[in-house]
């Protein structure tokens, strides 16, 4: 019998919540080309006409609701190490996906061929699948109402399209940063990468929405590795405070990789001689560049409604924030000053978008309000599951606009909006939090982590750690990781930064769903202090 590990490997399903390396093709210099005639079919009014063809075909075949997406997805990766280019990859794909609802059952079909015949065929196939599924239906799908947007458009906050920037400029920027880092003694290896995403998404549904959106995302990555003289130790410094953003080439230039590379490399070298942390309980001052990841894993994931109700039980996991009727309005997640917002509206954030893949204009909503769990992330299908809660609150039953598909060939389902810790009332800074701490550890940058499938027990690290003594930084530490139970951790938070200390972190790679899909995530937050958190030494040999 196939064991679980082997089975998942064979099925290509062994994704992790955040995986970077698996996204890189192995071939040096790889490119996927979408050809001119497909691009011509994609431009002007052609997508709208094809989407109408698909919707008409679905309706004629018996769908009570249908939506069509015709989209072009492009990616560009430029990868270097030390003084050379390692990889240049372009991917480019265009196609059409049609989703149909028949008697409360979903069907979906996708085709890469953008002709009236092909998209109509996909629509009929989607309806046929939905009809076939009726024999297994128990509770019919009900979509929460949403206004129609008959001629809507939206674009990311991008000034310079990174796909218009020549390869030579991208390589030059990375190699200059590498050169600066390699000047630092003991720094032997440097990796730097530029990731770019462009999604041109056309959407239409039988409610009457016709929406065109362009999403641009950019992510510079940089890692310096220092090696001890006797080769017994090595330390990495990843520049994770440079977040992926929904911005263009101008964002990459603003990060000034070459200007910061030397500092990051010096910190990698300093980690070699840093004092190993002594295990124990410490007050932690966590910088936003590190805190976004615990927010993602211990708040973002467990408050996805599909997870809470078991819809990811066979893959991504479930949630300790369940069942909804026992947690909504009662679970104390953290202190009264803790407010967690879900939104898709923060300028430059990865999940920000005008309209989701249900055709919904997302709203801003509080997942945690004054420390109490207040709401889940939802789609149109899911919002009706919480009708009782919204009616109790005197709120309309509406989706929060969290539907997303990672490709024209993927079916839309619930994905994470921007999930962010809102600033405190007092305008405290990261430095203010350190000054107010007598004995603790300051953590900058996100590092390795582990968390259980219900998001209840976690362990997180960072990039660099500093000992705090008497309100001052007393030197660098290494081998730090902290462990927590989610409610204990957030309830130990006793101080947070103000508006001016708010920053956004995130990743391009968050996995969920079967077939597996990957989406980008952003989490805004302020620095925060947590009292008496259990710290372990990850370098201890026995």
């Amino acid at each position: 019998m196939t064991n679980r590990r082997e089975f998942l490997r064979q099925a290509g399903l062994s994704g992790t919540a955040l995986a970077l390396a698996s996204a890189l093709p192995r071939d040096a210099f790889a490119r996927a080309a979408v050809q001119q005639q497909d691009i011509e079919r994609f431009e002007g009014s052609a997508p709208k006409e094809l989407m109408m063809e698909a919707l008409n075909a679905a309706s004629a075949a018996g769908a009570s609701y249908a939506d069509a997406r015709i989209a072009r997805f492009r990616q560009n990766f430029v990868v270097t190490r030390e003084h050379q280019i390692i990889n240049v990859v372009d991917t480019d794909t265009i196609g059409c996906g049609v989703r149909a609802l028949v008697d409360g059952c979903w069907g979906f079909a996708a085709t890469r061929t953008l002709t009236a015949e092909a998209v109509g065929g996909a629509a009929r196939e989607a309806v046929a699948i939905a009809k076939a599924n009726r024999v297994a239906r128990d509770r019919p799908v009900e979509l929460a109402a949403s206004p129609a947007y008959p001629n809507a458009t939206w674009k990311s906050a991008c000034k310079t399209d990174p796909f218009d920037v020549p390869l030579e400029q991208k390589v030059d920027l990375l190699l200059k940063a590498n050169d600066e880092a390699m000047k630092v003694d003991k720094v032997k290896y440097v990796n730097s990468i530029l990731f770019f995403v462009k999604q041109e998404r056309n959407y239409a549904n039988t409610d009457g929405s016709v929406i065109a959106q362009t999403i641009i995302r950019s992510w510079p990555l940089f890692t310096a590795t220092a090696v001890s003289a006797d080769f017994t130790d090595f330390q990495n410094r990843q520049a994770t405070e440079v977040a992926p953003m929904g911005r263009g080439w101008e964002y990459v230039l603003d990060q000034d990789l070459a200007g910061h590379a030397r500092k990051w490399a010096e910190e990698a070298a300093e980690k070699l001689t840093a004092k190993p942390v002594e295990v124990g309980r410490y007050d932690l001052v966590i910088h936003p560049s590190a805190l976004w990841l615990p927010i993602h894993e211990s708040i973002g994931h467990p408050t996805e409604l599909d997870r809470a109700l078991g819809y990811e039980a066979n893959y991504a996991g479930t949630s300790f924030v369940a069942p909804p009727e026992e947690k909504l309005g009662t679970l104390r997640y953290g202190p009264a000053f803790m407010n967690i917002q879900g939104d898709r509206s923060q300028e430059g954030a990865i999940s920000t978008i005008g309209y989701d893949d249900d055709g919904v204009q997302p709203d801003d909503f509080l997942i945690i309000k004054n420390g109490i769990f207040n709401d889940y992330q939802t789609t149109r299908e899911q919002a009706s599951w919480l009708k009782w809660w919204y009616e109790k609150q005197g709120k309309p039953v509406r989706s929060h606009g969290c539907s997303y598909a990672d490709s024209w060939s993927s079916v839309a389902f619930q994905r994470m909006p921007n999930v962010s810790l809102l600033p405190g009332n007092e305008d405290k800074s990261y430095e203010d939090l350190i000054a107010a701490t007598d004995r603790g550890i300051a953590i900058v940058g996100d590092g390795s982590f582990s968390i259980d499938q219900q998001r209840y027990n976690g362990q997180f690290a960072g990039q660099v750690y500093y000992e705090i003594k008497g309100g001052k930084i007393a030197g660098m530490l290494k081998d730090v990781a902290y462990q927590f139970r989610t409610p204990d951790f957030w309830n130990s938070m006793d101080m947070i930064g103000g508006k001016s200390s708010y920053k956004i972190g995130g990743s391009f790679f968050d996995g969920k769903g079967q077939p597996g899909q990957v989406n980008g995530v952003s989490h805004g937050c302020v620095p925060a202090r947590f009292r008496a958190v259990n710290v372990i030494n990850t370098g201890r040999k026995s």
């Binding site: 196939t2 069907g107 890469r112 819809y311």
Partner: protein
């Protein structure tokens, strides 16, 4: 094991293109066209096409179900130790020519790869029968029937929740190069897995099966195994670490 006889049965599936899985002849003609177009020292062509279908259920409810038809042609062009890969999913003649030219352009820009290997001469590959008509032609109704192997008993029991996924693939791979190597392989696969949890939160069982031949999978037995494991996990007592020597 039966010898495969045909590609997709388009008779029952008017909305699925009959050439969703390219035949040996079609793949050979496509590869030959691209190899003849090459101006590089060497060229390697890989073609993949297929139909992927799936059905998903969770919390004892139907979830999503889908069908995707796609093709990918990958061209690796090499000049000495320099090489680059370009892929496309457009099979039009001019598109294929542009794909080859783009691979050649990028290969000239690429750094030397000290581990680059020369293209293989024609090979004799072992014949593998991995294609099964019954898998390739599994219908949406048959996939829904598989979902019911878990949904029906779980709903009847009332104290467990089933979540699972069935994915069925039918596809082909062809490789070719300028040394007249050509190989074609087509394969089917069915992969079923599910998790059954007891509603009291104390038990969870996982089971799965996969096989190129749909008929070789006892889907009901897989579902029963997950239900049984979930129930038995629930009845286990908490261990006492102090009692373990």
């Amino acid at each position: 094991m039966t010898e495969p006889t045909r590609l997709l049965d388009a008779m029952d599936r008017a909305s699925i293109p009959a050439d969703a899985v390219l035949s040996r002849e079609a793949a050979h003609a496509l590869c030959e066209k691209m190899v003849k177009t090459s101006r590089a020292d060497s060229i390697n062509v890989t073609v993949n096409s297929g139909l992927a279908t799936n059905i998903r259920f969770a919390a004892n409810q139907m979830s999503t179900a889908g069908s995707v038809v796609d093709v990918q042609v990958a061209v690796q062009s090499s000049y000495g130790l320099k090489h680059a890969v370009v892929t496309t999913n457009d099979l039009a003649d001019d598109a294929l020519v542009r794909t080859v030219r783009e691979a050649e352009r990028l290969a000239k820009l690429a750094p030397d790869d000290p581990e680059a290997m020369p293209e293989l001469d024609p090979q004799q590959y072992m014949k593998v029968n991995a294609w099964f008509d019954q898998t390739a032609n599994a219908s949406a109704a048959e996939r829904a029937k598989v979902a019911r192997t878990a949904l029906d008993p779980a709903r009847k029991m009332g104290d467990v929740d089933a979540a699972g996924f069935l994915v069925v693939n039918a596809g082909m791979t062809a490789i070719a190069n300028q040394k007249e190597l050509f190989a074609y392989h087509r394969a089917t696969s069915a992969n079923y897995q599910l998790t059954v949890r007891t509603r009291d939160g104390t038990g969870s069982g996982w089971a799965a099966a996969d096989h190129p031949d749909w008929a070789q999978i006892d889907f009901a037995a897989v579902a029963s195994r997950a239900i049984d494991k979930g129930g038995r996990a629930s009845s286990r007592r908490r261990s006492n670490p102090a009692a373990i020597p």
